[in-house]
Amino acid sequence: MKKSLGFRITGQIICIIFGFFTLYPLLLMLKRSFDNGGIGNYVKVLNAVNPIRNYLNSIVVVGATLVVVSIVLSLAAYAFSKMRFRGSKVLYFILLTGMMIPTSAMIFPLFQITKKLGMINEFSSLIGPYSAMNALFNLMILKNYYDSLPNELIEAAKIDGSSSFQTFTRVILPLSIPGLALVLIQTFLSAWNELQMGMTFINKPLKQTITVVPLRFAQTMQGSYPIEVTFACLTMTLLPIIIFYVFAQKFLIAGLTAGAIKG
């Protein structure tokens, strides 16, 4: 339906003002990162904290998390959506309570086990909790997605003599790619951006994930460099996630607006 001209003009003005405020801090960071030294500020960051290694660490941690989440979560979502078993509702709602648990409630106990098992500075100390948090957080989304797939396909596969697991891998999994993609994009974002465990469970600079780099820079290097170098460091930290968003945004926003977010 066409709205009035007044509505459209007001809309454009408000949307532009909001867009300005949204982008301003980010563009400020980008601009300041090139002041007094241009690309040289970035070279200084490379020499001071060398984030390349930390990018790779993040890629390994997030990649492993994505693998674990996609396996664990699609199995569980499929069972809760399409299989009949005693206690399925209760078992499902128990898992949903996991969504409300803040990291700060988990961090010390997990730090303790990590230390006892000698896993401090190991990537596995992060992959485990990231997988758990994201599997639980996205369970409802993926189950809702499976709910929307027709049961007839499963019935047909059963008549053909497939076992539950075969039905799952051959029929459901290929169909679930759009739902799974949304969940994995969300997992990527949340695991990549996580700070609290990343800075607690790993203290060797060479083993840290990329989110810890700005803190390390602030603690050890800030005094010896002008503020523009800090901005260069921040830009370098943010860059991968912005590139990822540019590629994933169509899919992400389409998935989120397709009714995947439910009350």
Binding site: M1, S4, G6, F7, G11, Q12, I14, C15, F18, G19, F21, T22, P25, L26, M29, I71, V72, L75, A76, Y78, A79, F80, M83, F85, R86, S88, I94, L95, G98, M100, I101, P102, S104, A105, M106, F108, P109, Q112, G128, A132, A135, L136, S163, S164, F168, N193, L195, Q196, T211, V212, L215, I227, L234, T237, I242, Y245, Q249, T257, I261, G263
Partner: protein, 297 residues
Amino acid sequence: MKKQHYQKEAYLFILPIYILFAVYIVYPIFFNIYHSFFKWNGVSSEKTFIGTENYIRILKDPVLLILIKNFFIFGFLTIVLQAVFGIILANFLVHGLKFAGFYRTIYYIPVVATPVVIGNIFSKIFETNRGHLNVTLRALGLDFLAKQWLADPKIALYCIAAVNIWQWTGYSMLVYYANMLNIPEDLYESATIDGAGDFTTFFKITLPLCRNSHFSLFILGALGTLKCFDIPYVLTKGGPNYATEFFSTYIYKKSFDLWDQGGSSTLVVIMFVFALIITFAQLRVYYRGNSEKELSA
């Protein structure tokens, strides 16, 4: 009628997620409940059972009052303002505004941006002497507005709330946007034929029919306030003088800076009770509202 047929192999399908749940959620909860009854610094092997002493101590701790006050102020401000901004933007974008797709993409950037980077950018903006905000204000001759944004206990919390609103408005926008896509167009058309203007249709149609979004944003916002850590940790570390302390930052501080694991675990338990009360109260309101709606329909 179909015969009940249970698939026992389903338990194997949910076993992996339950293992993760047990190790990373259930175990920490019981760990904290258990240690809330002990005097323990978190490092030494010596733990002393002290009954409810931690609870008495934490309930008398003046910081707990600040945590609760901050929880309500921050939660209220961020939830309300994010919802107001989000619904206004969504309302424009959903009705075929030019460049709507572009705006939507822009508004969602802060949601995906790394919080530790956002915190650092804003700490440079809010910095008192050479910070961008004060420099700009002075350049405009508005020196009296230049404040010690993060160092003044009276305003630091509001600065953190502002950053949170900047970050999460895009999320509220998208939730409302998705909701509005499901409102049938003919509702608006018939209202317009009846002579209703843009404001009337917004308040009479859009606002009530976004009810589910209001509630889910409320729940997510309240739980988000309990989870809030990265931004205050980077901007103020909970200071000045605990003025911007949140449950998450204070729990972390107790565990890793103050070596008071008994107190930290006690705070975790109190935070749980908080989270449960909120979830429960909201669900009650939600379901009562629903049944009323059904009755009136």
